[in-house]
Symmetry: C2
Subunit: 209 residues, 2 copies
């Protein structure tokens, strides 16, 4: 990273969790939530919640809690979910298609503006509502698409090449769904989403009884 980020990634991940809960609460007509209730919904300790939110000046009201709409809006601004964020997806396989059609993204103002693949059978077709473009054109077309975030959903063996093409096109924020490590320039951030690691965390708890 070029300089230290103001908010650490684990804090941002928790803020995103709060945002999601607040959004559901708001839709259900809930007006206030206290930290104990947010702990019950999120599994995050109430002390941690209060610490995270006081960092941004949100202290809640003693005996009442946080105003759901205000807090959701406040966190949305911190996470920059108050504006449309363009996203490009590399890989039009099952996972890339699932991402391109993932309903949660539009709910959070993420807009998929490009879907790329290297497979000649897929290029030019419309999958999950998006025209599949040739990944060989990615670095040239990326600036014009205005995408801030690029998701990598290709096989592990193609992941570094796809990422390098994205970096060459000016991408700095990558979400890597491929089960491999991606090397990145110093001013770029690659966040790994590993399904295997998520399964591994649960495996620890599964007793053979």
């Amino acid at each position: 990273m070029n300089g230290q980020p103001k908010v650490p990634v684990p804090t941002l991940a928790r803020l995103a969790t709060y945002y999601s809960l607040l959004r559901e609460a708001e839709e259900a007509g809930v007006e206030t939530l206290n930290s104990a209730r947010i702990e019950g919904l999120s599994g995050i300790a109430a002390t941690q919640i209060r610490k995270d939110l006081s960092r941004f000046g949100e202290l809640g009201k003693p005996g009442v809690g946080y105003n759901v709409s205000e807090l959701r809006e406040h966190i949305g601004k911190i996470l920059k979910l108050d504006r449309v964020q363009h996203v490009v997806i590399i890989g039009a396989g099952r996972l890339g298609q699932a991402l391109a059609a993932y309903p949660g993204l539009a709910d959070y103002s993420f807009e998929v503006v490009g879907l790329f693949d290297s497979d000649a059978k897929k290029i030019g077709k419309t999958l999950s509502g998006h025209l599949v473009r040739d990944v060989a054109t990615l670095s040239k077309s990326l600036p014009g698409l205005g995408a801030r975030i690029v998701a990598i959903a290709v096989p592990a063996s193609s992941a570094q090449g796809a990422a390098d093409a994205a970096f060459a096109g000016g991408a700095r924020w990558l979400l890597n769904f491929s089960p491999t490590h991606i090397k990145s320039p110093a001013d770029c951030l690659v966040r790994d989403v590993s399904f295997t690691q998520e399964f591994a965390v649960l495996a620890h708890y599964s007793e053979d009884k």
Copy 2:
């Protein structure tokens, strides 16, 4: 959770990251890694790495570091990746199919033993190499499948129903890929994998310049 888990979930998530890195290093023929090098590969602070590993008696050798194979094996035992773990996937849409075919799972000894859906057009077909079964039969067939972990990959509106069927069949460890909160019995653990939240974390860093 029924009683406090011995190892906190965030620690397990980091252990899974170390395991993944050690596996790649082992395949590349690397024999030792020190905490500074693991920090460079994982983005986790060296002090945190040493703290996590010393918890399990792994202290490494000063000036040499950790033996890659030994440490990988040790963490594998803690995460119970040293045995086959049966997994059932509910939802045979794009995401469920992507999970069922995800190459990383088999690499970590996870074996998909069942793929369920409610869509009559999918039931009975073979998708991603798995026969799609009727989710209405899930709670009855789950015990026979020996699945310790159930992944929920259905639309948000069907997620609670799918989870309840899994709980009724004896499932206690759920990985929830649906963009909604799932209510669970006290002795069960639901781990949310939210693509939207992963995007939201990156959105914070994307400056509009």
